[in-house]
Symmetry: C2
Subunit: 209 residues, 2 copies
């Protein structure tokens, strides 16, 4: 296997944490988004959609998208389970992963990509240039606030995002909550359940990478 | 089990097709988005996030999000497999499902929700009111055109979206391609591989529901 990573971006960090939680040591190449290496011909021969992460399997398939990489690794290396131990848990993990992606990750990315000068003409990941839409950044901030409410409500009832076991949904939520610093949003004061959960995940070896 | 469906919306159609492809007959309640029933107290007691579909499992868990419902049903009823038969296929199915959701489903929904009068103040699904952003609708149209190119390129190489077997990724792509009619976008003339794939999926009994 071969893992294409980028040390500065949240999406590859999710895959990196998943690999570490599985206890796997996979040959890794770092692609610098700051230098635009994801748009190079060499990298686009690996992933024509010019996104990171990518995991090239032993069978030679280039898997992109965090869920693609996670599903492959979970099937090939079932222990420890990160996507549920029975049908209800498997459903809950992908459900909460989707909620966190759509209600947390998407508005954080929208806010960053539609305001930061580094993303001018690059408001959508990938090879096509799209202009920034400043209104989208303000809506993104409002949605991130709603996401922190949702997460706090959930974590007041549940030790982890998808239930009583650490899972892919915690990795996704942790990476996005941490990444919200780029739009100067932190866990709101008083969200004690979220803060306690965040500190517990942050202490895991996989979060140090 | 109990399935909360809505006959007019694309997200519940995806779950409905998945259930039909599994050959399951699940008790169903229709929630009318046209009448705003998803925002009622009764439905929000089932799903506080006010989205459809929902599958209540025999264990009493209310699973929302298409991937949550699909993961549960795939684990509980493995035949016929709709999420891959081995690690590489499982990775490819969730990879392509994510690509189709983000690059097809998201811009179709953005275009509709940011222009149609019925979605005024409801540009994002769920209980919170968000204003329409007309610029987002135009960007959505551009992205849908790029999605049809991507899909045609893929289907020129592959019988189905995620490989040589029908899968969840085909359900997702079929529902969104069909739903693009609401923004007056059809499969472009000359996209012969997409057209042949679409007709083959449309002929399946699960597509008639």
């Amino acid at each position: 296997m071969l893992f294409y990573d980028c040390s500065t971006a949240p999406s590859p960090r999710r895959a990196r944490m998943f690999i570490a939680e599985k206890g796997l040591d996979i040959e890794t190449r770092d692609i610098s988004i700051a230098k635009g290496e994801q748009l190079s011909d060499a990298f686009r021969a690996v992933n024509p959609r010019a996104t990171i992460p990518v995991l090239v399997t032993d069978e030679g398939n280039a898997l992109t998208e965090n869920l693609g990489i996670a599903a492959y690794l979970e099937a090939r290396y079932p222990e420890p389970p990160l996507m549920g131990r029975n049908p209800d848990e498997k459903g809950a993990v992908l459900m909460w992963n989707a909620i966190v992606e759509q209600q947390g990750g998407a508005p954080i990315a929208e806010t960053l990509r539609n305001t930061h000068p580094a993303f001018e003409g690059r408001a959508i990941p990938g090879p096509v240039s799209y202009a920034q839409i400043p209104e989208l950044a303000q809506r993104g901030r409002d949605r991130v606030a709603a996401f922190f409410d949702l997460l706090e409500t959930r974590l007041q009832d549940s030790a982890f995002v998808a239930g009583d076991a650490f899972s892919l949904a915690d990795i996704t939520a942790f990476v996005f909550v941490d990444f919200a610093r780029v739009i100067k949003i932190r866990i709101p004061d008083g969200n004690a359940a979220t803060q306690a959960w965040f500190e517990a995940v942050q202490a895991r070896p996989s979060a140090q990478l």
